[in-house]
């Protein structure tokens, strides 16, 4: 019964990779290797389905289709976690970009003339101007 430790280890690895360095060259290299292995396995299972069944029974899964299902589920979780991390990363970048645009255009506009506040003692003649831009 290898299947249980195999599945658990796969999930742990996904978790670890997801939590640690994301977006680095190393991570994306690992991702490519994982994809490569996945495609090799896919082609192999198409060409030699009976061997997939043998592997499956060797590691204690039963039928080859069951093994494929497990691999597919792991692959799906892998994809989900990576996509989530990627989205978060993009969100941060977009926020930085939008902030830069907002701040830059705020500094370009002429300083707003202070509207007379309701109480006369509150004129704001010293409203800092945006000259330094």
């Amino acid at each position: 019964m290898f299947i249980k430790p195999l599945l658990v280890i796969a999930l742990l690895v996904i978790g670890l990779v997801a939590l640690r360095g994301r977006g680095t060259n190393r991570t994306s290299a690992y991702l490519k290797i994982a994809l490569g292995l996945f495609f090799t396995f896919a082609i192999y299972s198409v060409l030699f389905p009976e061997q997939i069944t043998q592997i499956a029974s060797f590691i204690g899964v039963g039928r080859g289709t069951d093994l494929l299902l497990y691999v597919a589920v792991i692959g799906f979780i892998f994809f989900t976690v990576f996509t989530y991390a990627k989205f978060k990363d993009l969100e941060t970048r977009i926020a930085r970009l939008a902030r830069a645009v907002a701040l830059a255009s705020a500094l370009q506009e002429p300083p707003l003339l202070p509207v007379q506040p309701p109480e006369p003692s509150l004129t704001t003649e010293s409203e800092p101007t945006e000259q330094e831009a």
Binding site: L19, A85, I94, R99, A102, L103, V115, P117, S126
Partner: protein, 227 residues
């Protein structure tokens, strides 16, 4: 009245046309410097805020309240002469008098940050369910506990400009309150709480966070800590 021209109010704003002009006019009686961060509103909030005399910084797209706060903080802390920053809500739930007391403490006491709390003094005006949830949030947060905070999700916060320079909120959405406390704790800033009154009007209640949003906050915070 003390001269408050070294204070900047940072007001994140999203679709607040109805009330924002009034809120800013009232706040500016005491605090002339107000920067409104318009978080991509579809209504005329930006024009209203500008008419009330606030500097308006516009996000080209909607990013979320945390992002708007960060933008406002970055704008305000780079103003010449700015010494104190205050985060202030656009929906009229905060009072300038409370801000005055918080700023007075920053001026006189050795503090970096003063957080508003709803849970000192009379809590009768806070809706019961809200009270329970906010109390629970504080109890389960180790940092809030360590800093002896009674209310970690209050939008009213005052800080010195030096403290503001260390604030870099990454949570765009609503998890920024936790993140703020995190940053304050990690940087070992000196924090105090000041009791404040929140005006729970129908308007602010309808604009405020629904309790279901707590789910988002918890998950976002958990993910952020690990990243």
């Amino acid at each position: 009245m003390t001269d408050q021209r070294d204070v900047w109010l940072v007001v994140p704003m999203y679709n607040e046309t109805q009330v924002v002009r009034d809120v800013i006019l009232r706040a500016r009686r005491t605090f002339p410097n107000v920067v409104c961060v318009d978080d991509g509103s579809q209504d005329s909030s930006a024009a209203e805020a500008a008419a009330a005399g606030a500097v308006v910084v516009r996000h080209p797209i909607n990013l979320g309240q945390g992002a708007a706060l960060q933008t406002g903080i970055e704008y305000a802390r780079n103003r010449p002469g700015a010494r104190y920053l205050v985060t202030f809500d656009a929906d009229g739930q905060h009072n300038a008098d409370d801000v005055s007391r918080m700023i007075a403490r920053l001026r006189t006491e050795p503090l970096d940050v003063v957080l508003g709390t709803r849970f000192q003094g009379n809590t009768g005006h806070i809706p019961l369910l809200k009270r329970l949830v906010l109390r629970t949030v504080v109890m389960v947060s180790p940092r809030a506990h360590r800093l002896k905070l009674s209310d970690s999700h209050n939008g009213l916060r005052a800080m010195t400009v030096e403290a503001a320079r260390r604030i870099n909120l990454q949570s765009n959405g609503m998890a920024h309150a936790d993140e703020f406390v995190d940053i304050v704790d990690r940087a070992r800033m000196r924090v105090a709480e000041e009791p404040v009154t929140i005006n729970y009007t129908d308007y602010s209640m309808s604009k405020g966070q629904s309790l279901l949003n707590g789910v988002n906050i918890v998950v976002d915070s958990a993910v952020r800590r690990r990243s």
